[in-house]
C-alpha cells in the first residue's frame, strides 16, 4: 500500500463526511458510508491511477455507498402527511393566495456563510422522505428515474415530493432570510 495515497485519501474524510451527512441526516449512517468508501478506495487504488481529481473519484464511490444506505433504510421511512400544505398556497380558482415577491439580492446571499447555515436549518426541517428525494436530486444529482427506483415510488409521486420540498424551502428561506 502506498502511504502517500493513504494519507491523501484520509485527508478527504472531513469533506466526505459533510457530503454524506447532508444526504443521510444521520451521523452514524454517514460515518459508515464514508468508512466503506475509504476502505473501497484504498483497495481500489489502481483504478484511481491516471485520474485527475481524487475528491471527485472518492465522491463517486461515496454516492454509491449513500444509495446503498438509502436502500437499506427505505422501508423505515413512510411519506409523512399529505400534500395539503400545497392547497393552502392557492385560492380555489388556482391563483396564489399570497403571490411570491422578488427576493432582494439573492446573489449576495451566496457570498454569506450565515445564509448557508439558514439553508441547512431549513433542509433539516423538511420531512424525512421529502428531504431524501430532494437531496438525491439536488445534492447527489440523480435523475428522477433513479430516485423513483431507489425509493420505490412512481415518477408522479417523485415530482410531487420534489415540488413539496422546493415550496417548503422557499417559504422557510423567505421567513428565515429574505424576509428580514
Amino acid at each position: 500500500m502506498n502511504d502517500d495515497f493513504r494519507s491523501r485519501v484520509e485527508r478527504e474524510r472531513p469533506y466526505l463526511l459533510r457530503y454524506a451527512a447532508l444526504q443521510l441526516r444521520d451521523a452514524h449512517a454517514a460515518e459508515d458510508a464514508v468508512q466503506d468508501t475509504l476502505v473501497a478506495a484504498l483497495a481500489g487504488e489502481a483504478s484511481f491511477a491516471g485520474r485527475s481529481n481524487l475528491r471527485t473519484w472518492l465522491t463517486g464511490i461515496l454516492k454509491h455507498k449513500i444509495i446503498d444506505a438509502i436502500r437499506r433504510s427505505r422501508r423505515e421511512a413512510p411519506v409523512e402527511g399529505d400534500a395539503s400544505e400545497l392547497e393552502a398556497l392557492f385560492t380555489e380558482n388556482g391563483h396564489w393566495a399570497d403571490p411570491p415577491a422578488a427576493w432582494p439580492d439573492p446573489e449576495a446571499a451566496l457570498e454569506q456563510q450565515r445564509f448557508f447555515a439558514a439553508l441547512q436549518a431549513c433542509l433539516e426541517r423538511l420531512p424525512q422522505k421529502i428531504a431524501q428525494a430532494f437531496m438525491m436530486r439536488e445534492h447527489l444529482g440523480l435523475e428522477t428515474g433513479e430516485i423513483c427506483k431507489e425509493l420505490a415510488i412512481t415518477p408522479t409521486h417523485c415530482w410531487v415530493l420534489l415540488y413539496r420540498a422546493r415550496v417548503a424551502l422557499r417559504e422557510c428561506l423567505e421567513r428565515e432570510w429574505f424576509g428580514k
Partner: protein
C-alpha cells in the same frame, strides 16, 4: 385554456426534473410572460438549485 398559477408553479418545479415537452413549455412561457408571482417563483426555484450546488462544494 390558460394555465392557473397552481399548475404553472408545478410545471416550473417539474421543469427542473424532466423535459416538459414543447406544448407544456409553451403554455408555461405564456403564463410566465403575464404573471409576476410565478416569474418570481421560477427565479427562486432556479436560485434554490444554485444554492444547493454551492452548499455541497463549501468546505
Amino acid at each position: 385554456m390558460m394555465l392557473s398559477c397552481k399548475e404553472a408553479s408545478r410545471l416550473v418545479s417539474q421543469g427542473l426534473d424532466r423535459d416538459l415537452g414543447l406544448f407544456a413549455r409553451a403554455r408555461l412561457r405564456l403564463h410566465l410572460a403575464i404573471c409576476e408571482g410565478c416569474t418570481n417563483f421560477k427565479k427562486q426555484m432556479d436560485f434554490l438549485r444554485r444554492a444547493l450546488r454551492e452548499l455541497a462544494t463549501r468546505s
